[in-house]
């Protein structure tokens, strides 16, 4: 009898674990990205994270869209207009299609991943701009692990984890496909912390981010992410340490939350 209860408990917990009760369609989060050098802050860009519903003849999908746009004072210097998209299953946040369309100070790049989870491959398309303004494409088949996701869907998937059951120091790792390469990103749970944000004082789950075999992010436990400790688990604050100075991402507004 005990064994049956145990098995049932595991089954139920694994079911609730993989389901998405956090992210719904119509959610819009706006952030301010800023750069910090010796305590002097400079606002760089506005980052938005939006979700919406996309219907095809066969299924309804969730479109996760992230954009970054520099503030007008920067546009003459270094204009950034980035668009990241991921089309995922609303139930499990499994990605089917990922698009990255970036335009950063004259540099243009487009990446598209078409997932085939059954065969464990991704059809990747890379498009870049030549100096004379023409484009060139590169098609590739990349084999991926069963748990591999793209950057955008990983960010959202992170929010479906049940941090309240975690003990301080627990790590969770995700495999993220970026530039046709799989990277392992670790999130370490550091407990809860109450911080004041633009949308009020929030109790948050504090997470430390690190990437295996990468030196983009400097220091250990210096790259932090705060998710609200409620049903929505929205990111409200993030801090990154890079080679020179540090970057920050602060929430400006949040609307259309599911819970």
């Amino acid at each position: 009898m005990q064994r049956i209860i145990l098995v049932l408990a595991i089954l139920i917990s694994s079911l609730t674990y993989s389901q998405n009760y956090t992210v719904g369609a119509g959610e819009k989060l706006t952030f301010t990205a800023s750069y910090n050098m010796s305590g002097l802050m400079t606002d760089l860009a506005q980052v938005t994270m939006e979700t919406s519903e996309v219907k095809t003849s066969k299924a309804t999908l969730l479109r996760l869209k992230c954009t970054a746009a520099t503030y007008s004072k920067w546009d003459n210097f270094f204009k950034i207009r980035d668009l990241y998209e991921s089309y995922v299953s609303p139930r499990t946040l499994t990605p089917y299609l990922y698009k990255r369309d970036i335009s950063e100070g004259g540099y243009y790049k487009f990446m598209q991943y078409k997932y085939s989870h059954k065969t464990g491959t991704v059809k990747s398309l890379k498009r870049k701009k030549r100096k004379d303004g023409t484009f060139w494409n590169e098609n590739k088949n990349v084999s991926i692990g069963s748990a591999t996701r793209d950057l955008v869907s990983t960010l959202y998937k992170l929010r479906t984890l049940d941090f309240s059951s975690y003990s301080t120091g627990t790590s969770k790792s995700f495999t993220v496909l970026f530039d046709n390469k799989e990277n392992v990103v670790n999130f370490k749970y550091l407990g809860t912390e109450t911080i004041s944000t633009n949308i009020g004082k929030k109790t948050c789950y504090k997470l430390a981010i690190s990437i295996n075999n990468s030196n983009v992010l400097k220091g250990s436990n210096d790259n932090l992410l705060w998710l609200t400790a409620d049903e929505n688990k929205i990111p409200v604050y993030a801090k990154f340490k890079i080679a020179v100075g540090s970057g920050e991402l602060k929430i400006k507004s949040a609307s259309g939350l599911k819970n």
Binding site: D43, V54, K65, T94, Y96, L97, D101, K114, G169, T175
Partner: protein, 124 residues
């Protein structure tokens, strides 16, 4: 010693003015403060050695200009996003394009995959 300080002071003051003109105007405060301190140091050295204090004036003028520009910018420049119409257009086009691609993908099949497989590893 005085000469060395004068050179440093000028470099800091000019750097402050240059940074104040760029969008990074906040960071111009660092060289501006350095230039101000160097200016004071040069002033006292000049007084002690009975030398001309003219150079101090130049450094101070540059520092005041850079701080003036920085303050003006931080007070009057509103932080706002530039034109995002083109980005919006790209996003809209992308949705249409994505819909076509998604029609070709076999989604239902994928949705049945055991999600346990897709979840990350947990390490204590």
């Amino acid at each position: 010693m005085r000469k060395f300080l004068v050179i440093l002071g000028f470099i800091a003051a000019i750097l402050a003015v240059v940074l104040a003109v760029t969008p990074l105007s906040n960071i111009a405060l660092i060289p501006a403060i350095v230039a101000f301190i160097l200016g004071l140091a040069i002033f006292y050295l000049s007084k002690k050695q009975n030398q001309s204090k003219k150079v101090v004036q130049y450094i101070f003028i540059l520092t005041i200009i850079s701080i003036g520009i920085t303050t003006y910018k931080s007070v009057f420049n509103e932080v706002e996003v530039g034109d995002t119409e083109e980005l919006q257009e790209r996003a809209d086009e992308s949705v249409e394009d994505s819909k076509e691609i998604l029609e070709d993908l076999d989604i239902e099949e994928i949705d049945d995959i055991d999600m346990e497989e897709l979840d990350g590893l947990e390490i204590d």
